[in-house]
Symmetry: C2
Subunit: 398 residues, 2 copies
Amino acid sequence: MNYPFSDNVRSLNPSAIREILKYAADPEVVSLSAGNPAPEAFPVEAIQTITARLLAERPIDALQYSTTEGYGPLRARLREYMSDKHHVGSDDDEILITAGAQQVMGLAAKALVNRGDTVICECPSFVGALNSFRALGAQLVGVPVMPDGMDMDALEQTLKSHPHARFIYTIPNFQNPSGVTMSWEKRVHLYELAKRYGVLILEDNPYGELRFEGENVPAVKTLDKDGLVLYAGSFSKVLSPGLRVGYAIGPKPVLQKMVVCKQGEDVHTTILSQMICDEFMKTCDFEAHLKGLRDLYRHKAQLMLSLMDRYLVPCGVTYNPVQGGLFVWGTLPDGADMPKFCTLAVAEHKVAVVPGNAFLPDENEPCQSFRLNYSTPTDEDMVKGMKRLGAFAADFLK
Amino acid sequence: MNYPFSDNVRSLNPSAIREILKYAADPEVVSLSAGNPAPEAFPVEAIQTITARLLAERPIDALQYSTTEGYGPLRARLREYMSDKHHVGSDDDEILITAGAQQVMGLAAKALVNRGDTVICECPSFVGALNSFRALGAQLVGVPVMPDGMDMDALEQTLKSHPHARFIYTIPNFQNPSGVTMSWEKRVHLYELAKRYGVLILEDNPYGELRFEGENVPAVKTLDKDGLVLYAGSFSKVLSPGLRVGYAIGPKPVLQKMVVCKQGEDVHTTILSQMICDEFMKTCDFEAHLKGLRDLYRHKAQLMLSLMDRYLVPCGVTYNPVQGGLFVWGTLPDGADMPKFCTLAVAEHKVAVVPGNAFLPDENEPCQSFRLNYSTPTDEDMVKGMKRLGAFAADFLK
């Protein structure tokens, strides 16, 4: 049968990352292509204790249907935490618990995007978010990412030429894939432009708590006096991605529509997962846990950068500085064939990295960059993988 | 700010059931309006033991990112179980684990429906599914449900007048809300019509295992030689809805598109939940557990029907026979104002039922029916609620 796929999804294909990850399933391959937290980042004992207690004391609450908006105590705790610690959220905002921050992107697109509408995103940007916008028929328009965040002149030109853009999607901290953090001055500028052109901002901040160097930069959402910013947070990088718990904090009318859309997607987020997140924040030392994660990722990032300096920089590869998050963005010298480099690296040299064009609004645009991850591999595998990549690069780029 | 909601969701509002459920939060109100499994239906001890073991033996697997298609062992187990026990699924089919069966409806709509496309559904039907279709811009066209399922003449007329309908949505067993089961003859007829008119069938079967009377009727999917049926199953009614685990079995090309859409919605279903479902099927006596559920719901249904006979039938209320599932569909005599009946019942007489028009493709159509649930209330509350409803009905309908 010739299946009648919707116009939105007919051209939507599994992401290039997934194709790379298929190679990465080969046990001989060292994967620097994932985006998983380090296994040692999970507070396993605490989650064991909490889960046993929840299922012993409140099994029916943990197993029964719950409300679409999310588990009440977790919503209240996150509102207080995000307000007190990060100055995110006001009385004009609501909070919605979601199946990871990914669902915030999907619900925002469903609530705001008609087929053919423009969504402005960073170039490069997180392919999972881009695909969730594409699945609703969004036309993605990319704004180049510079070492201090989006190019604001290009953003203003884009806003002028796309006056009906539905929102601006940004990952301001340790952006996936570029690793870049947007400066405070650019955040203020971004907010001013959004206000002037009457366009919403979708601020995705999964890595914000993972700053292991430099000064914290407040969220764009801290500037929001006009109901312009929809903020997405997540437990995936700070507790566990498998639990699938994220959240949106944003203007009440937008959140209300997202709640109705979420009813039709999954009714509510797994309630046991929500209760585990709430109990972890309530009964464990969350700040000490975050400090442990920062120490862990500082170590792993420093190792990765030292390996870059040793094995890839001498071949002409450059990279963006890293102050947090999970990724390094490397760039091959002009003229090098990046897709071929990534394909041969995994197919012949058993080391997987992600070709940068996977993160472009238009995957067919030329791209010289690739993404490396340092959170998932063991230190030993990172060394082994980077040695392989360096040896291959020395040959490929000579 | 005047938020630029998409055309699809602008007119989408929280369901009428949710408004009723707000009243039902009043502890004085006896709720016969929910659709939750009975609290005593949860195998609490088994889930406690399984969860503790999983988190002790395989904590990283349970907490790390997983694959969009679902947990491999659960997918294999369900394929075998559904094939061996229910003859559902062939080599041309694939299986996808979802966040409850609700996500099957949302993903099917995203993959198949353009704004303005026709989706054919039963009238009445499950409002959560209807809303997931509406959220993608579907135009719902209802086909009346008779005591043995959809009116096949009306279905054929609808297929003729809507030649580009994207799919036919049906809940063939113990339909929500009508309680009706489609006869085998009508299932064959439905399949023939779908084949003749080249239209997919979305078969939603959350209650199929909860038959406590009469003979099992095989799924429409058992007839599928042509890749025409997308089947949705769920653990919500047979294990726990809070875990949010359901599944789709359907033609590979359709499932592939749904996988890409699911990546953009939630990346994957909570992995701990999937592992709990798999271990429960593997290590517990699933058939004995299902038998226990059937015994429980048989008892509760019989109690509800005896209360109907005693308190509502004498007032002129009629109801559909019940052989399984969670619901009874009552109908007021001609001329009675059903919405007023339901509103006064909860507001003044502290008993909540769901007005039937909530389940219509067009909620503004006239409707004489209402939905009663017998799975959620205790026996004592069921008696109390039905006494209240009967006393009110005797006055309201006199």
